[in-house]
Symmetry: D2
Subunit: 461 residues, 4 copies
């Protein structure tokens, strides 16, 4: 079992079947064992009802190996991640299932500000599989202390923001906090920057009574309605642990995440005049267009693997992002929806003249499409192999082909096709983008044919 | 100065000029002195920026007299008031300025669940004026402990509610918390009763960034807009300390407080079949109509003085209220917007078939009017004396005249006129209600004439 | 394994081999399962280095079943036991290994003030053996709150003490706290009774740097030396969790526990004029002599099983004790070295004229003897069967024979012989007491012969 | 009044007459005013019963000016002082009256690790005299956070100690903690260095039940008795706040403070090969002898004024001390009895072969004498002026005369006479030291004559 523990974003699952107290305690022992029973580990949680139970199990396991624990309490993911950059901290962990349903929970590990890379995850998995854990002698069992990282994180965030923008002149911002861990953070950060903040779903509650934690357009219908009918320059929506940031403009329209990524990327590249932007494979080419115009360069990484790049090319990377999850290199190597919210508010105020719509006009909006077909797990490998074989012959005007996670074909006119199989469902997905509807249409038809014939061949074999 | 400390609702004022650390420490000494330097006092605060400063000053004063302190932390007024009913607690105090601006603060004192009556307030004022305080010896200085009243209050509230209504079947409720002290209370109470809660302005913040703390229609425009455009069966709005409750229906309409009072009063009288309802002088006759129909009786008390009645006729009183501030005798002698919110949600669900509008149809809505004229302080006494002289001759079909606070003339057709001078501003106010517009109109014209001639005579004298 | 979990005083063992995080979590699940996943459990700990680790594991297990937890923190055994008498508390648990070495730890369970009886222990053992635990749904996982029982316990203790004795007039008392959990309790209780307290080994420390935690004469040599050379009317010594009480007089002499038991028993019986005193099988007949003289009755129970008697004859029992561990029925059904210390100080002051020696003169001091022979586990049963067969024929002038735990023969002259096999070591033990040395000598020789021949016969068979 | 606030060691006095809540609040306002209403101040306290009362008053005053507060809780003086060296801390304050009686309390201020110098004290006095305090606006009132400095201080201390000595091999140390603020610190520091620690008077108690807080031979009779009759290599005694260190050897003998100062000074000078040692005027010449032999230099400063030297010659000073209060420059500019205790234990272990007596043999022990005569306040000035006039003529073989605080005449044979008037009592004091009894005798007779004649002349004038 343990070799499948980690998904694309830490460990997640139901608290009865997978992420239960047994796993919690084993993970504590495993982490303590990989640290050889010495060092300090920070632990934070979001608002889920299982947070204290899992924290206790995880803590017991860690202490038994000799690790000291810093209890960070109820704290959003960006703040927990920032804790792992402290001099005397080896690893910081947040117990969260991000935007999953309330009956799930999970663990996410950070080192020096970034998520664990695959080799570190594998060490934990191996330790659990082997079941041979370090056990401390009575005189070297770990101890617990508490630390409230709030002020340290806020000051760090403010320093980052204050060199980038000015005060908000009471520009009105609505923040939908998903009853999650960003509650005391985002509103206060915006207030300190002189924005006028109204909050919604701002009482922490593990039942997520206001809405589902994922900040998708479907879950944000109420909030979009409010944004439309009220008078906020900008509406920000988080998920349960504060790494994600969804944006709604003053007319109540949900803004595509690729354009938000492009906006942040442009902002950071402009400040440096050059640099690398790392984005996940499923993002659109609007990012490339905007970044290149400012002198930067874009590379794409597999989903859930941006941190593999940081661990090798840290000096070059200026900004990175998965959809909804911006990472500002000058701030630290973690996804930060909280600072993202504040930086966006600054830009709306200064560059958009207090209009989100106005600001976003500077980022092009191109047609995109995302579909899937059924693809049983056992045919996935053959299916992708078939795709690989034919796609380069079938698609014209190819600029480059990226095969780090599925196959992404980028064309000279800025259009692209990404075909990949899902890691968790029996599906194959296609992502297509183009500068106009007709190109999109053609590319889509072509991609559908390619997928169909690849699948047919796979089923026959 | 000290003889003017208390207004109609405790002590309030600017934190630089009036409610400063000097006053805080003096009040602590004065309270400790009236308690003869022995006993226990609970202290809670709302979210204002001056809360910790004043709590420290007040605490230092109390400890110096020998009083032990129970620090209740950030806690809404109803919970602080309920603390004063504990066996070993002498007095509980909340540091709040309720709905005043953020630069104000204040003190409100509770004993056995009710606000201090005038004679208790006078004792404090006298102690400060005299300046002779009890000073404890080093071996009998007071000590501080902390107590989290949350669970105790919640269980007490749930017991009250569970005999009155059933669970909410996920009926959707919006709660606007004014960034105040009810934050962890009202949403959680509703959630425990199985309502589905969305919150707005739910992060505690002494800057009150979302809206002014007073839940008046002017301050609630945004919230009314949201209520109108979303799909909540009921919208509840608090002030900063949770004693107040304003109600917006599913069409976004602000519901007149007199009808809410009538609704609660009817509900409690129905359960007993009889009893006394005490309301403030400025409430409308719809309450009388509804209460009498159920076999109850209504009496009116001066503004800010309901507690004087409780201290004498506790056994008869079933329900009481000032506008926005319901007091449920079975719960305790304090104003409780939190329990009020939950009870209202129950009624909307059960009696209104999950429609606030539907529920409120059972409470008549009559025309009302409230006006004021200028009346300099020095003429107020003569003005009221003139009013008293002429009003009974001028107005016909009088049922009764109440003169506990201004003059209120109640007519046999249910219409009424109340004329009183403001305690804080150079104004004379008139409140008029009637069952139809034409009666209201006539009565209003008549009242204006009476006021004008009374004022003219006063100015001449 | 699990059927041997409990010993004579809860569960104890090394933290690596037996009382580790696995056992902690299993115990939590087992307790929660016997409680059917609903209710409240209090948890306290002594100062051992493994306390937090085990508390976390135990807590995780309990929460996972749906049980709510009251964290009592660092708290002595008597206070934890008293917590289990609270109305809304089902069980309270202390994590302690009492006087065992620092590398051990353990669990002791209390219900309604008394230790778990055997049937309750068996339920836990069965639950662990079966391995089928209640698992709560995400919406009913338990929650944790904190409670500081200090003041409640102190007030309860003071009420008990104040009806029994007066204030201490600064009589000087030395308290050796074994760096354990009684630290804030005994000194403060004595101080509130106006004794002048000097403390030794009074900083809580899981390393027990001052001395081993067992308050035996061997471990108390330093303290006895201090008592001898200083000017304290009384010296009290605790073990690590405060259920035990050893006494040293003003000349530095360690006082035999049987005489302390007799003193407390006489005191309680005197107050009632009658009643039952329950003591463990290994106590001497001085208790019977003193108790009978005051109109009371003594019964003996197996070691570690006094609570079985309380669960049946609660109304009759006035006082009970194992060596070092007094139980005052008017206080509660737990062993309480803290209240014992304070009550003893009162008696030294009032009845002994501030001299411990003087007070103890009223309790006779008779010769006693305790020996053992080797007896391999597999012969124990046959050995005891042989003893049973011959002892009543060999020993003369028998008053009564008690066989609840080994064989205890009581003679008409007040002398007695108890022969029993150890529950934990390959030994058979004999305890002998008499009113003079010559009787003791004869009885000892006789007993040695009986044991030798019984063992010889057992080895042959 | 305010111009006499500060004595030689901060502010101290009775809590009813001088150091009351009024003074506490005024001091808070004054400190906040000198800091211009911006910055951070740390506050710690010892165990006195008035600690919370005064902390609340002081806190209220500081917050009202806009200062943020770090509440350090119950913390010894050295740890509070070390807090003032943190980057973002302006001043740290301990509320303590050191070794004064329990009905007293006081305030001591630290900046960059050292006590306030006279000019900083004067600023506070002036602010109180003027009564014009900064008052913050509601939006800039200060806030409180908590900080537990324990681990930070302990690590800082361990770093200092680990370069100076090795582990303690379980050498046995007795620590008498005076029921004061060093309780969790000194025992734990010694334990971490592998000493075996027994504690006495180790439960924090503002009543100081064990002994008076001043670690003078008179107050330590019990402890000396225990040290004599037990088997500790070393006995350390603190005062109430942990800046002081008294030493008792394994035979129960109190060791003269001058020899302890000489021991520490030699140790530090040896490490550097040179440097300045600053001691108070009342210390003996054994320090000079020992320090010069190692290549160092000694200067003397007025009582309570060592910090004036640090503020000017920080780079040269290697070690300084008043009696009982060592200051290690490599550690920080504060008096530290805790680190002193640990360093001394290291030296006893390594240099004394686990014998305090053995270690102290390397520091000479010379006869000394300290006397006083009555000298009414109004004659003090004239008395000292007379002394100044005659002393240099009367005493032979003068090496140097020091007149920074009284007149100290040092002779070429190492003997000395210091004559000074008390700052708090109507007394003139003489301190005499010599290398043998006969010189001491002669010098004493001579000094008595000089004082008598100077006083006679003063009374006549």
């Amino acid at each position: 079992m343990s070799d499948k523990l980690f998904g694309t974003s830490g460990i997640r699952g139901g608290i009865r079947d997978k992420v239960n107290t047994d796993l919690g305690m084993s993970l504590g022992r495993a982490l303590g064992t990989t640290l050889k029973g010495t060092g300090k580990v920070g632990i934070g949680t979001d608002a889920r009802t299982s947070r204290v139970m899992l924290k206790n199990a995880f803590t017991a396991g860690l202490l038994s190996t000799g690790i000291d624990i810093i209890d960070l309490g109820f704290t959003p993911m960006p703040a927990v991640a920032s804790h792992s950059t402290f001099d005397d901290i080896d690893v910081s962990v947040i117990i969260t299932a991000s935007h999953n349903p309330p009956g799930d929970n999970g663990f996410k590990f950070f080192k020096e500000g970034r998520e664990f890379i695959r080799s570190e995850e594998a060490s934990l998995e191996n330790a659990i599989t082997n079941g041979e854990f370090v056990i401390a002698d009575w005189s070297s069992i770990g101890e617990i202390s508490k630390y409230d990282i709030y002020e340290t994180y806020m000051n760090h965030a403010l320093k980052f923001l204050e060199v980038r923008g000015s005060k908000g002149d009471n520009m009105s911002v609505l923040v939908d906090l998903a009853n999650g861990a960003a509650v005391p953070y985002t509103p206060s950060l915006l207030t300190r920057l002189n924005f006028s903040v109204t909050t919604i779903n701002a009482h922490p509650d593990g039942y997520f009574p206001g809405r589902f934690a994922e900040p998708s357009p479907q879950n944000l219908e109420d909030t979009m309605q409010i944004a439309k009918n009220s008078d906020f320059a900008l509406t920000i929506c988080h998920d349960g642990d504060g790494d994600r940031l969804a944006v709604i403009d003053e007319e109540g329209k949900f803004i595509d995440q690729n354009r938000i990524i492009a906006l942040f990327a442009r902002d950071e590249i402009r400040r440096k005049g050059e640099g690398l932007v790392v984005v996940s494979i499923d993002t659109s080419s609007v990012i490339d267009e905007v970044v290149k115009a400012e002198g930067g360069q874009v590379i794409r990484a597999p989903l859930g693997s941006l941190q593999e790049v940081f661990s090798k090319r840290a000096k070059e990377v200026v900004f990175s992002s998965e959809p909804w999850k911006p990472i500002f290199s000058d701030l630290g190597w973690w996804m930060d929806g909280i600072v993202g919210a504040a930086r966006l508010a600054q830009m709306v105020h200064e560059e958009g003249n207090s209009s989100c719509l106005e600001l976003m006009k500077s980022i092009p909006e191109y047609p995109m499409l995302r579909e899937h077909i059924k693809c049983p797990d056992k045919y996935k490998s053959q299916f992708m192999s078939n795709i690989r074989e034919i796609i380069e012959n079938e698609i014209t005007n190819i600029d480059q082909v990226i095969d780090v996670d599925g196959i992404r074909v980028e064309r000279t006119d800025g259009s692209y096709v990404l075909i990949r199989v899902s890691g968790t469902e029996p599906k194959a997905r296609v992502y297509i983008g183009a500068k106009n509807e007709s190109t999109l249409e053609k590319l889509a038809n072509h991609a559908r044919e390619i997928m169909k014939s690849s699948l047919d061949k796979a089923l026959e074999s």
